[in-house]
């Protein structure tokens, strides 16, 4: 296999890492109005992701920088083309991150209310817009011969892309709520599980439609297999959640997100950003990638770093494995 093909899948893996991990952060953030009945509830929710949101968010920085290094043309076309969408994502990520850290700095409820609102918006906007962005990449956009996006912001808001956005929004919402049921105790854990059943049903319908559309319009055999597995995992997650097996429900939810991302990347392959107006202008793995030398350097770095990263990030989650309860929140100093 050529290195640029390997890096196409490594980029996919990095976005899977990002969406699986920050995906449940987005879901927890969006769940505040649904599961947070009082301040202690909301603090329980925030504390399930308090120690890890930063590490999870770092996955997008790594994915973005690796995209820049491995596929400069793809990075340049996508980031300049989706300018306003990415601006909104950036602004959302800024207010979300700051809110996690600043909410607890002052005791006034007025102060907390502000940051609660910003956490919800700051989580929902990227959850929606990442789906819109990636659906547009899969569908193809207007590109000129220099690979520059020539459409407008509103071209990006087409039915397929909006369905893609709704899919990621719902996937992350359900993923986050399942995570809450896995990481909390008592009443809120039970309410999260029940909410996950309801949102799970909607998610299944919407995600299945989006995956089906993807397979029919842009897919190959490969795509169909990934999409089918994603659907199976999603339904499995729903069933395990019904049974109250939170660990399995969460694992299968993560698998669903991973397989959905694989579906999108498989339908792109061997393009990375197809041009909808003229196939000759499409960005492909071949014409968007860096030189074999740069990819070789990157591969060695990734090969050496990946096991270490997996080890310490996995260990971190293990250290933080204890469930968060109202009791520990109320007992602890602010």
């Amino acid at each position: 296999m050529e290195l640029n093909i390997l890096w196409f899948w490594i980029i996919a893996a990095m976005f899977i890492g990002y969406f699986v991990l920050d995906g449940f952060d987005f879901g927890v953030g969006m769940s505040l109005p649904f599961l947070g009945r009082d301040d202690t509830d909301r603090r329980v929710l925030i504390n399930t992701i308090g120690p890890v949101w930063d590490l999870n968010e770092t996955w997008v920085i790594v994915a973005g920088a690796s995209l820049f290094a491995a596929f400069p043309e793809w990075y340049a076309t996508m980031f300049s083309g989706f300018y306003l969408a990415l601006l909104l994502i950036l602004l959302a990520l800024i207010v979300r991150g700051v809110s996690f850290e600043y909410r607890h700095q002052r005791p006034e409820s007025e102060w907390k209310k502000w940051f609660d609102g910003m956490i919800v918006v700051g989580s929902a906007v990227p959850a929606l817009l990442w789906g819109v962005a990636f659906a547009n990449v899969v569908q193809g956009v207007q590109l000129d011969a220099g690979h520059n996006f020539t459409g407008s912001f509103f071209d990006l808001l087409n039915p397929y892309a909006l369905l893609g956005g709704l899919t990621t929004l719902l996937l992350f919402f359900t993923h986050g709520i399942v995570f809450v049921s896995l990481k909390t105790e008592g009443d809120i854990r039970e309410r999260a599980r029940k909410l996950a059943v309801r949102s799970g049903l909607v998610t299944i319908v919407v995600a299945a439609s989006f995956l089906l559309w993807t397979v029919l319009a842009f897919g190959s055999l490969f795509t169909a297999v990934f999409a089918a597995l994603a659907a199976v995992a999603l339904i499995g997650s729903f069933l395990f959640n019904l049974k109250g097996s939170e660990g399995w429900a969460f694992t299968l939810m993560a698998a669903t997100i991973g397989l959905a991302v694989l579906t999108l990347f498989a339908s792109l392959f061997p393009d990375v950003m197809p041009a909808s107006n003229d196939a000759a202008n499409s960005l492909t793995i071949a014409n968007a990638s860096s030189t074999p030398y740069t990819l070789q350097v990157m591969s060695w770095t990734a090969l050496i770093a990946a096991p270490v990263i997996f080890l310490y990030q996995g260990w971190t989650y293990w250290v933080l494995r204890k469930r968060v309860s109202r009791g520990t929140i109320e007992a602890a100093a602010h």
Binding site: T58, A65, S66, Y75, A76, Y83, L84, V98, M298, Y312
Partner: protein, 470 residues
């Protein structure tokens, strides 16, 4: 087109604004991570409560600031592609690798272990918990190295070849790229300057409490620590600043000439350094100046009889080499930024030197103004750092990558002025509000002072574990 909607101008303003803003928080993150790690190590070694109190006190300020560095950093990672897509296409093969390393090697380490440090007080054994803040520190310092190596390529492009067919620069040697002489000099220069910024904060905070005659048990050692750290890191910043100016003169002679606003080539005593100049705003003619002979020769070549090339000569050389055009940076900016960087940095070091003298052997200065100077000196290093970066980046103009790609050629061709105006306004507003919020939160944390030392339980004799929740 309306000149206010010029994408190039707006993109430059946005990059400058967001970068200078981002780099207000980063030096504090880097410097305070090390500070907290040192205090916590002292606590683990000696078991003295005051070191634990200092760890928590500066740890709190560190965390308020840390969040801002993180969230403004994502903007940096994205806007190369968003606003400078032509640049990204041109340099990605070379410039992307150090950015990816920064993420894979440094940011992951920093972001993971900061979470464990914040929440791990009751979950990890003492030694392991101490290791988490050290790993955070290592991650933050390593990230500085990779981004400076990437920046060094823009100042002094090496380890590449031009692929004419693809119209891009391609990496030829990663080792050479990562050991760019500019990176090797700018890394220690920048890191020690970061330590100056954090020690400046410690000095001001400790002085504020001591002036009010409170928390002397913790704040006096903090003051001493801050002043020593300022003097040591100040000396090292100066030393490596000198190495950097040598490397810079070799790579970008125009930047050195622009730093001195020196139009004519000069040798020996004539290569003087002006401390102060009154002249026309464009710097072309000089009315009055205070000059130190030989100093510029020494700074640029480390000899007293060196020759420093003037702007006019270099402009002619570059025009012959690169074709007709203006190859001179905006002189009044480079000239004054260079002076303010040095002046503010030295002023801050002097505050610490004088402070160490006045507090020697347990003395406490009585004069109020002494304390006020210490309290208000905090912005010196921070401002020095900002103008230093403005000098570095403005002194590279009109080039984006020196000698290879002009700034005007690097901008995204398909992003409209209106879109950039929207983002510029959005960033300005949100950054402005957050600056106020962060500043007030830090002020509040400073005023609250260190928490009381944990008291052992009278029955069990055990000190309660600290539990952190948001």
């Amino acid at each position: 087109m309306n000149e206010w909607l010029d994408p190039l101008l707006l993109s430059r303003w946005q990059f400058g604004l967001t970068t200078v803003y981002h780099f207000l928080f980063v030096p504090l993150t880097i410097g305070l991570a090390l500070t907290v790690a040192i205090f916590q190590s002292a606590w683990v070694r000696t078991d003295k409560a005051k070191y634990l109190q200092l760890t928590h006190f500066f740890g709190k300020i560190f965390l308020i600031n840390f969040a801002m560095g993180v969230v403004t950093g994502i903007v940096q990672e994205f806007q190369f592609g968003m606003n400078w897509s032509t640049y990204s296409r041109f340099v990605g093969d070379v410039f992307g690798a150090p950015l990816a390393f920064e993420g894979i090697v440094a940011f992951f380490l920093e972001a993971t272990f900061i979470g464990l440090w914040i929440f791990g007080w009751d979950k990890l054994p003492r030694g392991l918990h101490l290791a988490t803040i050290w790993l955070t520190t290592v991650g933050s310092i390593a990230s500085a190295y990779f981004i400076l190596a990437a920046n060094a390529f823009m100042q002094n492009p090496i380890a590449f070849r031009i692929n004419e067919a693809r119209g891009r620069a391609e990496l030829t040697d990663i080792g050479e790229l990562l050991t760019n002489p500019i990176a090797l000099a700018s890394f220690p220069h920048t890191i020690f300057a970061c330590f100056m910024v954090s020690s400046g904060l410690i000095i001001s905070v400790a002085a504020w409490h001591l002036y009010r005659k409170q928390h002397a048990d913790t704040m006096r050692p903090a003051l001493k620590f801050g002043m020593w750290m300022m003097v040591i890191s100040g000396a090292l910043t100066t030393f490596f600043g000198d190495s950097l100016s040598l490397a810079m003169t070799a790579a970008q002679p125009m930047k050195m000439a622009a730093a001195e606003a020196m139009y004519k080539t000069a040798t020996g005593a004539n290569a003087s350094f002006s401390l102060f100049t009154l002249g026309t705003p464009d710097g072309v003619s000089e009315l009055f100046s205070v000059r130190i002979p030989y100093l510029l020769s020494f700074l640029s070549t480390h000899t007293l009889d060196g020759t420093v090339e003037g702007i006019n000569n270099l402009q002619a050389q570059y025009a012959a080499l690169y074709g007709p055009g203006d190859y001179t940076p905006t002189i009044w900016i480079t000239y004054w930024a260079f002076r303010w960087m040095i002046g503010l940095g030295i002023a801050h070091i002097l505050v610490a030197v004088v402070g160490l003298w006045l507090t020697r052997g347990g003395r406490t200065p009585a004069a109020a103004w002494v304390w006020k100077v210490a309290i208000w000196s905090f912005p010196f290093s921070l401002a020095s750092m900002s103008v230093g970066w403005i000098f570095t980046e403005m002194g590279r103009q009109p080039w984006l990558v020196f000698g290879l790609l002009k700034t005007e050629s690097g901008v995204s061709p398909n992003v409209s002025g209106l879109e950039i105006l929207i983002s510029l306004i959005a960033f300005t507003l949100i950054y402005g509000v957050l600056a106020v919020v962060e500043f007030r939160l830090i002020l509040r944390a400073v005023r609250q002072g260190p928490e009381d030392a944990p008291v052992p339980d009278p029955l069990t004799g055990e000190t309660p574990q600290r539990v952190t929740v948001y």
